[in-house]
Amino acid sequence: MNTYRFLIDYFNDSPTIIQATWIVIGLFSILILGLILYLKYLRGHLRKKESITVAYEQEYEAALITYLYAGNDEEEISSEQQAIIDLLKNGAKEPFKRKILIAVLLKLKNEISGEVAESIQNLYYQTELVDYALSRLSHKKWYVIAKGIRELKQFQIKEAYNPVIIHLNHPRPEVRKEMQLYMVNLFYFEGLTFLDLLETPLSEWDQIQLLEILQKLENQNISNITSWLQSSNDSVIIFALKLAKIYNQLEAKNEIIQLLHHINKKVRLEAIDVLSYLNVLEAKEILKTDLQKRSQEEQIAVFKMIENLYENDDESFIMKYIHDDLFEIKIIALKILKRINREKFCSLKSESSDDSFLRIVNFIENN
């Protein structure tokens, strides 16, 4: 009791700063104690969760394999399969287990095609997992919607077209991206119609993902891309140019040539690249004339095109560039010269005394 009195007096007599200090010390001590307990709880909880997850994973993996091979020769569902369906349906009611189940289904579905994939798809319906995903589409939080669309895409649920397309111009780019991936994944080239209405930029990341999906399918009949080449959305133009390359759209040649004078440098660069790939010789002539007015990157791109499409007539043109300041251009010009006129190329060695130039010429000669 005496100590207690003493401490209280001490506290009251101290200056405010020291009083504040002791109060904060007290606060921190309590907080720290709380944090320690929370940390212990958290670790234990996470550990438990992980072991439960592994257990359910194995259960569901085994169940899935059994389901796939417990079928009758007829089309109906065997009793063994029905038991598994019921088991999984029950599990799906809990979000935690649902997540594991979906992951297990996808783990296999992504690697497999054919009847096994179809069976997994059927299972997705039979266990009513599809309903949970559909309900996510009308959720308030954007990341829930995005996850929902993604799941529907992974299980190829075409019926979800209407609730998904609503999110065409959703404010969050993540949602829009999932919608676009859904469209293209399920409807391939026809799924690209959203490009007509897209007002937001299509990032390179998005474009790559869309192109990857499109490239997986061969022999597609694609419709006209010219309208996209004239879009007011520059990223749509760039994407359309990439499509032109993949699908060899020589028909769109004229529109693409127009784009060589587009206001956006990235568009122009992409156009040069595509025209080179499509072997459009007239583009080369156009670009030769206004080369000096273009940026360095474009000049290099043009030379790469000439490297691809050179003709003997180009000799006088490229002779002007064999000593160009830009390293990349110099190299390409020399390479082309070597192929067009080997004699003249070799004579360069005696004409020059510049070491670095000679080094380059020698390298090109030997490689």
Binding site: I32, L42, L46, E50, Y143, K147, E174, I364, N367
Partner: protein
């Protein structure tokens, strides 16, 4: 002390000390808060991203991994193999053997079937010349590998050679003994490709400490919490800095530092600003500051991105000698960089870089150890003159200590909630233990190293990189 003027000056200094401490604490809390928000958002955006598509795409941009190597013979073969097994498609690995005096090159030639090749280098940045030349493999399985053997020039020089040689759009500059997880390139390139409204010039990653971790065949198999307190302390320090610091800077677009152990850069801009500076020991930080300054001067909208996922694992010093040497070097690097770019400081032309990042770095990173050291000296003087009110001092010291522990605990909890890398039973206790011990175990050495660093910077120009003897990660 009779003289009132001296009294006032001393009081002024006292107030300044308090203000400094107060603002340091406030800034830690603010940064921690912002970091947590940013991390939550990052996880939301990326928890369900599928990186598989970009992995197999050849329309994904080209990346060169550039790894300078000096006397790495012990592990060089395994490190290279690990780098070659990354899941990205469009990349190559450029190893720069910076004039090593050991048998690194011979080992590599043997294991990877290397032959010397002709190569035309576009020397955009001046470097030391080649020594034995450039090598590539005859085995198609190792097509992505390029080995460059050059005269010794230091890490920055080696990196610059890599920049000259690379034909890719982006360069990932790493330490050759860094273990990169197999999808790190895909994850790191993402900000460059998904940002539409500004140019991303560089991206930095989190460095995780691999001491005591089990690495089997270039893959991280087991994450273990090391036994030595010095290693544990560094892990805690890295968790604090990466999870509660850098994420905030990234959000504010004020990130000044990208670790030299793993960073991804836009090659053209890196070359444009002149590559790495050979005259500094903090070349990683200096390049980022210079690239940022360049973009500000060009009035371009840009971003330095930051990825919180644990992608890069490396070895940290496990004894105090090397630890002090490392921290000494970091101190000198910071001082050099800040001095070289002092025109940025407090300069509104450089916006966040000049008005927030630079001042923060100057006061709370560069000056902090100096101020702390001066404070300790002053305290010593006060003790000598019997001017110390011990019960007050006691209270304040306890407060400072508790704040540190509190902050460390927040960092640990954040780590559990985000990446939960230390799963094993029993590690929890050790993490708690180090949270309480770190101020005693590592901090004094850091302070000492910083003091030496300041001294060496001003009075000892001959010090350079020092050595870090390779111990190798635990192999199974």
């Amino acid at each position: 002390m009779g003289d009132p003027i001296i009294q006032n000056i001393i009081e002024l200094f006292h107030y300044l000390f308090f203000i400094f401490s107060g603002s340091a604490i406030a800034s830690y809390l603010v940064l921690a808060f912002i970091s947590v928000i940013e991390t939550v958002e990052y996880k939301r955006k990326n928890s369900y991203v599928n990186y598989k598509e970009i992995m197999s795409s050849d329309s994904a941009p080209s990346i060169s991994i550039i790894a300078p190597a000096y006397t790495e013979s012990l592990n060089i073969v395994e490190n290279v193999r690990s780098l070659l097994s990354n899941h990205y498609v469009n990349y190559d690995v450029i190893i720069i053997n910076d004039g090593s005096k050991d048998d690194s090159l011979e080992k590599l030639i043997e294991v990877y079937n290397l032959v010397q090749v002709d190569y035309l280098i576009n020397e955009q940045i001046p470097t030391q010349p080649l020594r034995n030349g450039i090598y590539k493999s005859t085995n198609p399985a190792f097509e992505k590998l390029i080995i460059v053997d050059k005269e010794n020039g230091g890490k920055a020089d080696a990196l610059n050679m890599g920049l000259n040689i690379s034909n890719s759009e982006y360069v990932a500059c790493i330490d050759v003994d860094c273990l990169l997880l197999e999808d790190s390139l895909q994850i790191m390139i993402k900000p460059f490709l998904e940002t539409t409204d500004r140019k991303v010039i560089a991206a930095g990653g989190v460095i995780r400490i691999a001491n005591s971790c089990v690495v089997k065949g270039g893959k991280l198999h087991d994450v273990n919490f090391p036994k030595k307190l010095i290693e544990q302390g560094q892990i805690l320090e890295y968790i604090r800095a990466f999870l509660l610091g850098r994420m905030a800077w990234s959000r504010l677009n004020g990130l000044l530092v990208i670790s030299g152990a793993f960073g991804l850069f836009d090659k053209k801009i890196a070359i444009k600003v002149g590559g790495y500076d050979r005259n500094t020991v903090g070349e990683d930080m200096e390049l980022v500051v210079r690239m940022r300054a360049y973009m500000e001067e060009q009035n371009k909208i840009y971003k330095v991105a930051y990825i919180p996922d644990p992608l890069c694992w490396t070895e940290a010093p496990d004894n105090y000698k090397i630890f002090i040497s490392q921290r000494n070097r970091w101190t000198r690097g910071t001082i050099e960089t800040l001095r070289k770019h002092r025109k940025i400081g407090f300069n509104p032309k450089y916006r966040v870089l000049g008005l927030v990042s630079y001042p923060y770095w100057f006061f709370f990173e560069r000056m902090a150890p100096v101020i702390e050291f001066v404070g300790i000296l002053y305290f010593g003087i006060l003790i000598a003159f019997n001017q110390v009110r011990w019960d007050y001092a006691f209270a304040l010291i306890i407060l400072a200590y508790l704040f540190t522990v509190f902050f460390s605990l927040i960092a640990l909890i954040t780590e559990e909630l985000t990446y939960h890398q230390y799963k094993k039973k029993g590690t929890g206790i050790r993490l708690l233990q180090i949270a309480f011990l770190e101020p005693f175990v590592n901090h004094p050495f850091i302070l000492y190293a910083a003091r030496r660093g300041n001294f060496d910077y001003y009075f000892n120009k001959k010090k350079k990189w020092g050595e870090m003897t390779r111990k190798g990660m635990t192999k199974a």
